[in-house]
Symmetry: C2
Subunit: 134 residues, 2 copies
DNA sequence: CGCACTGTTTTATGGTTGTCAAACAATGCG
DNA sequence: CGCATTGTTTGACAACCATAAAACAGTGCG
């Protein structure tokens, strides 16, 4: 059993964590890790539907940001969420992100327009498509 | 008095918010907004030390992500943190980020190595400089 | 040893981003 | 109206990033 190098808890930086979690693919990894506890890289790849090198890239980003740790056992590598470390460094942050992520994907599953909202006269003064909405 | 277009509360997306806050300059804006309540774009620019067009760019990113709203009054534009909207959509998220941001900048001010930590034999198995640490 | 398996690194590529400078637009003051 | 003030937009540029393909590396099984 071998532990791969990670930043120390006190070296974890907020903006790095946020940037790591600002990617949908990586957020998906983290959300799943939060529920299943541990994954191998292969399981992560399967779950994501991206090329294995891409998955490896994202797992590296998460590891270097201090979000995740990796330990090798045999020829498998197990990924874990560094929940305690993150909670010690940034209390409540991961919980709120995970909660938000859950609500978000739940909303996406149960249909995106629960309210038909007669297109065009939203009272909240919104320009929905400003700059093409990416 | 004129309100500029913003995404509706229910259209605010988690990854967009995280990406918006994953930039040090933008995080600084938000942290300051949280304390002072309101800023003009000019005050933001002064506080940031970047070119005014850069500041404008970041304020736009924050606005499009739904983190901030802008209202024009006269020839000034006032920026506000959409705290209630963000809290309604992602409970606890902004608070934890602001708290983390405060602790972070406080630590940066009061010196970065409170523990000398005889360079080289950290027991936590850390590779400090992996890939140049950006 | 040789081979299958599991990930990582390298290389390429297209897209996005942060930054500044300069031009532009909107607003109110005199 | 003319002009200063306040921001935005455009253009240019370098850096970074997500992605995939292919080559590479470590590990255990037979």
């Amino acid at each position: 059993m071998r532990l791969l190098p990670h930043p120390a808890t006190e070296d974890i930086e907020l903006t790095e964590v946020l940037r790591a979690l600002a990617d949908p693919v990586r957020l998906k990894i983290v959300a799943r890790l939060a529920t299943v506890g541990t994954m191998t890289c292969g399981e992560a790849t399967d779950h994501l539907g991206v090329h294995k090198s891409t998955a490896s890239h994202h797992l590296r980003a998460l590891r270097e940001a201090g979000v995740v740790c990796t330990k090798q056992e045999g020829r498998l590598k197990y990924i874990n969420l560094r929940r305690d470390d993150l909670d010690a460094r940034f209390p409540g942050l991961i919980d709120s992100i995970l909660t938000a992520s859950r609500d978000d994907s739940a909303a996406a599953v149960s249909g995106d327009q629960p309210v038909p909202a007669a297109s065009g006269d939203d009272p909240t003064l919104i320009a929905a498509g400003e700059r093409g909405r990416r």
